[in-house]
């Protein structure tokens, strides 16, 4: 099968694989295989760059053609939408799926929450009111867990820590979030005592089944900006009891 020319190429120790790769002449499997070889070898990368830059002189033959104007919005949606999903560092508030996944866990402690609720001194048996509970479970090994009960009749959230210890120079801060809305601070919370947080009218209307409660570790005194800055240490969503 080899011609004498083929043999002379072999003796020469050269072939055109990198150029064929750049031209896109190889089959899919070969293209991928040679592509990997090139990526892992500085000399081959250099030869690839050689071909790319030399052939680039032919790029003038590609005729400029205006893109239909409506395409840009679609490109932005795809490019920037992907970034939000892929970029872990954008904001942990984006991680609604994570939060919703703990709703089932909240259910598991609902019974315990009822017990907790009955023990609270200000429980008013005459009042038939919406009550929600959220078990804020530890995230990423924080070892911090809270239980929050929202009593619409009292217009307050009662929160108690189940696990965890105070962190020097830091404070835990409680937040609520609905859907895609930004998180709203409900203030700094202690880890060693039960706390009652009175809510104003506007906030009361915001707390409903599915509302997510989360605790972050912030600088002492809480986030100065009104936007959570520290890591999330506990999270749970409110469910009716």
């Amino acid at each position: 099968m080899s011609t004498s020319d083929d043999n002379s190429e072999q003796v020469d120790g050269r072939n055109a694989l990198v150029a064929e790769h750049v031209l896109g002449l190889l089959s899919a499997s070969e293209h991928e295989r040679i592509g990997r070889l090139i990526e892992n070898d500085p000399a081959l990368r250099s030869e690839r760059d050689f071909w790319v830059s030399r052939f680039a002189a032919l790029n003038a033959e590609y005729e400029e053609t205006p893109v239909p104007p409506y395409l840009y919005a679609k490109i932005e949606a795809r490019a920037f939408g992907d970034v939000v999903r892929a970029g872990r560092r954008t904001s942990w508030w984006d991680s609604l799926a994570l939060w919703r996944s703990v709703a089932a866990g909240a259910l598991a402690v609902a019974v315990a929450a009822v017990g907790f609720n009955l023990l609270t001194p200000r429980f008013d048996a005459d009042q038939v009111a919406v009550q929600l509970v959220a078990a804020l479970q530890a995230q990423e090994g924080s070892g911090v867990e809270f239980l929050a009960v929202y009593d619409q009749g009292q217009g307050e959230v009662r929160i108690t820590s189940l696990k965890g210890a105070a962190v020097p120079e830091k404070d835990f801060e409680l937040w609520y979030i609905n859907g895609d809305q930004p998180a709203v601070s409900m203030g700094v919370i202690p880890v060693d005592q039960r706390l009652q947080i009175p809510l104003d009218e506007a906030t009361r209307a915001q707390i409903e089944p599915g509302t997510v409660l989360a605790v972050t570790l912030e600088q002492a005194g809480g986030s100065p900006t009104g936007v959570a800055q520290g890591p999330i240490v506990a999270v749970g969503s409110a469910i009716p009891i």
Binding site: L17, V52, S53
Partner: protein, 192 residues
């Protein structure tokens, strides 16, 4: 006639530098820079996807994917290896070729045994982008006209060996041999 003509004053001063800066700013997640980069380069890149895919709606779909890639991979652009516009054209061209390649029937790799020599080719020193049209034209001119056209067709239109063989009415193995020898000659000429 070309839409960019009216807005190209700043481009003409230092076009390469401008595009390079815009790509760098995209790597820093600057959305405004992305839009400017798109405005300045999309007509060229659309020309690439259109010529290779030869189908307007496919080219429109491809150009969207190309710019998503540009946004995601802006940090991989290394100034100095290739000019920024060449890099962008390469992203568009490779994407269009990927689409064609995925569509082609799996053919037997005739030269599976053909490996890159152990030592690898000698590294090219001071690889610089050569936008110099004269050089590649001169070197293509040293090849037989049919073979030079085949190289151009492979680069500009993304023709496969099969398509080239049928265009020039030669067996596919002959086309491979032509092309490979041509590329080796071309490299000698371009490196000289």
């Amino acid at each position: 006639m070309r839409p960019e003509a009216a807005t190209s004053m700043s481009i003409q001063t230092t076009p390469s530098q401008d595009i390079s800066d815009l790509i760098a700013r995209c790597a820093l997640r600057d959305r405004a820079a992305f839009r400017v980069l798109y405005e300045r380069t999309s007509a060229k890149l659309f020309g690439v996807t259109l010529r290779i895919l030869k189908d307007r709606s496919e080219a429109e779909e491809a150009i969207q994917e190309v710019y998503v890639k540009v946004w995601q991979r802006a940090d991989r652009y290394v100034a100095g290896n290739t000019s920024p516009i060449s890099w962008l054209v390469a992203v568009a061209r490779n994407h269009a070729l990927d689409i064609l390649r995925a569509r082609r029937p799996v053919s037997e790799d005739i030269d599976v045994a053909l490996e890159i020599p152990d030592g690898g080719p000698s590294p090219e020193r001071a690889v610089q982008d050569s936008q110099d049209r004269g050089r590649i034209d001169h070197c293509l001119g040293t090849l037989e006209p049919d073979r030079a056209d085949a190289v151009r067709g492979a680069y500009l239109d993304g023709y496969s060996y099969e398509e080239l063989a049928s265009r020039y009415a030669v067996p596919i193995n002959t086309m491979r041999t032509w092309l490979r020898r041509s590329l080796i000659k071309l490299k000698d000429c371009l490196s000289a």
